[in-house]
């Protein structure tokens, strides 16, 4: 050390520099844990009210640290997309990356500012996070859902539509559909949680068909669709989309467009390929059994398709000139073009189903005849009659049922188009007839004079929001909160409708029980009053004996869960038993077909066993 350069040795006083540290604050870390930063990634918190048990956190976790735990006491509501499960996290595996927080669709997961856990008990490192925090001390929130960090795409791809001025006087289809690229982009939003599958009445394999679209394999998507639904063209346009109501992405953003994706899949596969895919699992041999189905609506035709694929001989009897039921005769063309219905039905006919139109049960063929020529009979005649308010004056010829008029429009039967009309009702049927009439009026008179009178307030309407918005764009007026009082007739002519103010709709128990203020009366001039308040079925074709033989419940034929009636050869499906909507009809059609098949094959097996 003697050869240290003087400049490094420094002066003799150099050590005194250390004195400058004498009064300096030492950098000491306190024993107590210091509070963490505002975005600290500490122990997890989970808001059990917001959490729906979708398990997306489990999917994104790098380290398989998350497991879903089933907790029976929690609410379970498949229709709303709520599962009774919550994530449990293994802190032996978790790396606190917070990807689970960033991807959580509901935003229920977050991380707290707590970071200390010391224990010899290994099991204590496996936690079920809730809002209280790991040790119940309610540390403040750290890393939580943030606009920048959010990993989900909350906005839906827009559906291109015909603008009002182009569509107001014709029935051409309004929604143009997704092209393949847009469909793939929309499909990529799906996080595969499966809530849609649970909510669908037919339990469609939606996550699978969406994934196939994302992969660009539209044929695979069609195959997944046909596992549960022989009406993709129809449902892809007009289904009530319970799936989208349950969609986890829809909790904070716009739900994945599951319905439009179904349409995109089947629109982008040629018809002959669709038929080949749909009939892939058709039985090679016939069973020798015959099934007669009354009503070529979605329920009847779904059951027919299933049974024909299983090898049975199926004949469907339909009173109208073309098959389709409410799909064709209830839903206007601008929502569901007839050729799309034809395309779906063509696939069903390709399975070997025979459809006899213009054949009315009770008039052209009797129940006894059906029973004679079939081993099983399925009734799926639907709710083909409209209900009437039966207010005074409602028996005037210009007071019509919406379902009747809609059928006439489809049949091409002319009727005197009224220059002005009011529609009683606030559901989809009311808007269907209102918008159809608006188009006819625009063609006939150049202007629209249709008013929809709904009991409900604007924000609680039963009709789809798009119907209300689009109808307004087409010139249809809407008056909320009014109930019908009486039809005003002068001499022979219908002058209009008197309504009273509806003060409330639901009672304290939430039951439908409107309350009126009869002093608040309004007069609505009109040449036609159309009632769209509800529907009923006409099963007089059953005849007295069969009616007595059957068991009834609440005015409907009593059935078991699969649709079998108390009469062993008779089943029922569709609007007669559930709904009313297309996907429920399809679901009941499947159930009835499975039950019929089991019954028919069971008989054969029993006979063969003897």
């Amino acid at each position: 050390m003697s050869d240290i350069a003087p400049k490094y040795k420094g002066s003799m006083l150099r050590p005194l520099k250390a004195l400058s540290f004498l009064f300096r604050e030492p950098a000491t870390l306190p024993m107590r844990p210091r509070p963490a930063a505002k975005v600290y990634r500490g122990f997890h918190l989970n808001d059990w009210e917001k959490c729906v048990g979708c398990a997306t956190c489990q999917q994104i976790c790098d380290n398989d640290a998350i497991r879903m735990v089933h907790i029976p006491a929690l609410p379970s509501d498949p229709a709303k997309g709520i599962r009774p499960r919550r994530p449990a996290i293994d802190y032996g595996r978790c790396c606190w990356c917070a990807l689970c927080v960033d991807i959580c669709p509901t935003g229920s997961l977050s991380m707290s500012r707590e970071y200390i856990h010391v224990s010899r008990d290994v099991d204590s490192y496996f936690i079920l996070p809730d809002e209280e925090g790991m040790h119940g001390v309610r540390y403040p929130q750290g890393w939580a859902k943030d606009e920048n960090a959010d990993l989900l795409d909350l906005k839906r791809q827009e559906m291109p539509e015909e603008p009002p001025q182009e569509r107001a006087d014709n029935f051409s289809e309004i929604c143009e559909g997704y092209d393949p690229q847009t469909a793939m982009l929309e499909a990529s939003r799906c996080i595969q949680c499966g809530m849609c599958h649970d909510a669908c009445p037919a339990h469609m394999h939606a996550p699978e068909y969406i994934r196939a679209i994302f992969e660009g394999d539209f044929e695979k998507s069609v195959a997944e669709i046909y596992r549960t639904n022989p009406f993709p063209q129809v449902c892809g346009r007009v289904c009530t989309h319970r799936c989208e109501t349950a969609c986890s992405i829809g909790k904070r953003g716009e739900p994945v467009a599951i319905r439009w994706l179904k349409r995109a899949a089947v629109d982008n596969v040629p018809q002959d390929r669709t038929i080949a895919i749909a009939l892939k699992d058709k039985a090679k041999t016939k069973t020798g059994k015959r099934v007669a189905i009354a009503g070529a609506g979605p329920a009847g035709l779904t059951a027919a398709f299933d049974l024909a694929k299983l090898g049975h001989e199926v004949t469907v009897y339909e009173e109208k000139p073309r098959p389709g039921g409410m799909m064709r005769y209830g839903i206007p063309e601008y929502r569901l073009p007839y050729e799309r219905i034809d395309a779906d039905i063509a696939v069903i006919e390709a399975a070997g189903v025979k459809i006899r139109c213009n054949t009315k049960l009770g008039r052209d063929v009797t129940m006894a005849q059906l029973k004679g020529q079939a081993d099983a009979v399925l009734l799926s005649t639907g709710l083909n009659k409209g209900r009437s308010t039966r207010i005074p004056g409602s028996d005037h010829p210009q007071v019509r049922a919406a379902v009747d008029l809609l059928a006439r429009i489809t049949l091409g039967e002319a009727f005197d188009i009224p220059a002005s009309a009011v529609v009683i009702g606030g559901g989809n049927v009311a808007f269907d007839i209102a918008r159809s009439l608006a188009r006819l009026q625009r063609r006939a008179f150049g202007k629209v004079e249709v008013t929809v009178l709904a009991l409900e307030e604007r924000d609680k309407m039963l009709a789809d929001e798009e119907e209300v918005i689009e109808s307004a764009q087409e010139g249809v007026k809407l008056i909320n909160g009014r109930g019908p009082k009486q039809v005003v007739i002068e001499g022979d002519a219908l002058k209009g409708l008197e309504t009273v103010k509806c003060l409330s709709i639901f009672d304290e128990q939430g039951r439908f029980h409107p309350r009126y203020d009869e002093t608040d009366v309004m007069f609505h001039p009109a040449q036609m009053v159309i009632e769209a308040i509800g529907q009923m079925s006409d099963v007089s074709f059953l005849g007295e004996d069969l009616t007595e033989q059957l068991e009834w419940s609440r005015g409907r034929i009593r059935i078991d869960e699969a649709g079998r009636t108390s009469v062993p050869w008779l089943w029922a499906a569709g609007d007669l038993v559930k709904g009313p909507d297309v996907i429920s009809a399809i679901a009941t059609g499947h159930a009835a077909a499975a039950s019929i098949h089991a019954a028919l094959m069971g008989e054969t097996e029993a006979r063969e066993a003897k």
Binding site: R387, I391, P392, F512, Y516, I533, Q535, W552, G555, I557
Partner: protein, 170 residues
Amino acid sequence: MPRHGEGHESAHDKLKRAQTLEEILETALGFEATARDFYAELAGRVSKPLRELVEELAEEEKEHYRLFSELKANPDIAGALKELVERPAEDHRFSDFIQKPDLGEAPDDQAILQYALAREDAAAKQYAALAQSTPEGPVRDLFTHLAKEELAHKAELEKRYYEIVHSGGV
């Protein structure tokens, strides 16, 4: 005049003449019994799908009969009535706009319910009118109570009517 012989005028007079609470209840019980028998007979005439509905209506009248019997058997009717008339009934005024139909040969479910509603409404109005024209006291309380019961029954029927007629029967 309605079929079951319960003419508005004669019923009113009957009730006006009644002096004691027991007598009033006796008359009211008579009305309930008539209604119950009417529905029971109707049940045998309608087609099977409607039988359940009509039988339920008969059951409800039977239940009313039972309630009024219990009240009549109560030694302190006046005291019991005081509590019962505490909460005023709410009239939704819905059935004002429905005509009471002629049931005819083969009424449907809507017609049957309209008929029942009209009957309940008439009864409620009748008791209410009687309450109005009676001085304060246990008799007035009884009429108020009876009006309330009919109104409550009417409300139940209104809900059932809506469920069946206005939503496709679902």
